[in-house]
Symmetry: C2
Subunit: 230 residues, 2 copies
Amino acid sequence: MSETTPDIPSKTLPTIAILGGTGKEGPGLALRWLAAGYSIIIGSRQLEKAQATAAELNARMNTDCALGLENSNAARQADICVLTVMAEAHQPALEGLKDALQGKILVDATARVDFRDPRPPSPPSAARIAQDILGPGVRVVAAFQNAPAHSLKKNLDKPIATDVLVCADDLEAAERVIELAKAGGMRAYYAGGLDNAVVVEGITSLLISINKHYGSKTATIHVAGLGITD
Amino acid sequence: MSETTPDIPSKTLPTIAILGGTGKEGPGLALRWLAAGYSIIIGSRQLEKAQATAAELNARMNTDCALGLENSNAARQADICVLTVMAEAHQPALEGLKDALQGKILVDATARVDFRDPRPPSPPSAARIAQDILGPGVRVVAAFQNAPAHSLKKNLDKPIATDVLVCADDLEAAERVIELAKAGGMRAYYAGGLDNAVVVEGITSLLISINKHYGSKTATIHVAGLGITD
């Protein structure tokens, strides 16, 4: 009888693939989403590295909800894919994953800023470049370019003091990513179309300069003045 | 005797010229600095407009510390000049003021963002363009690109809920502008060299998009995570 049916979730959470997910950023995001009950696929060009990272995540979280796969297989089995590769791997990764990503939401977390020479990038945004490579069958969303890897991995039950600026031409896709960011303990705001994402990439340049000047490692940007959550 | 010498200021405040100061932004900044005890010169291409704006400011503040002059004369008589012109007037104004600005600090508040089509600008930043036009005899500082005109003019005795990101290649000039922003009730942070200022211009694009999406007019960006004033 329906009164006694136990623990059926009210809705099924999407499966998230983190492509290039063995670096600094990917595992941090994965931990956050595992803590929130999502199933995670760690993607890498090398299956063994993906499996090793997934095993570490499962061990830390005492779960089996992280799986390691080669990037293309990871993309095919996920609902939402998050790309966390180094700037120089951005275009080749997208070209190689174009087929596997059709029909998906692709979250591009790339900030094309060199830590040693942090000049701001020029338009078009990395996310616009991704959309142009992937074509209209993929809904590209730019987000998490400034998410601090060190903070993501700590205090998983607490919110992170960083705001995620989400840029997308497809508002429904943006809203799904805002939901995902919030599930991971981050405040998130829609900040315009894919072209605006170049500014969010460039905020990385500002934060590097601010941290250097003030002897900090944790400078971040908050959205305020909306009178909704601040 | 020195004990009875009245009201000698501990230091003389610099005179501030606001070039193109008859628009929306300039009078707001002027009011803030008049309230903090600075002498202000409003500059305009048309002397009569400058004089009219200065008279309005003096009337509101019950002072005679605002003076209206043609832009070149305003620049020559000031210690620090703040350029608040429309994006399309930026280069011609700088070319016309090159001689008058030699030896000064020029604060460039230009954000090359069209409110109706708010795409982010490309590098180089407006401030870098200004430095290239003016040459090494002028110390260019980028600041106040996102300062909300409507908030500047209200509650002059209270801080403004906006953070000023100050970009300059000359750190001593940046520090003088940070001091000026703080005198006007704004929190201000050094955010790197002149090239970084293109990102601060682009933040205007983000704020326009955020305001539009959330039905607000007052979105702003705060710097956090430094553990100093936040």
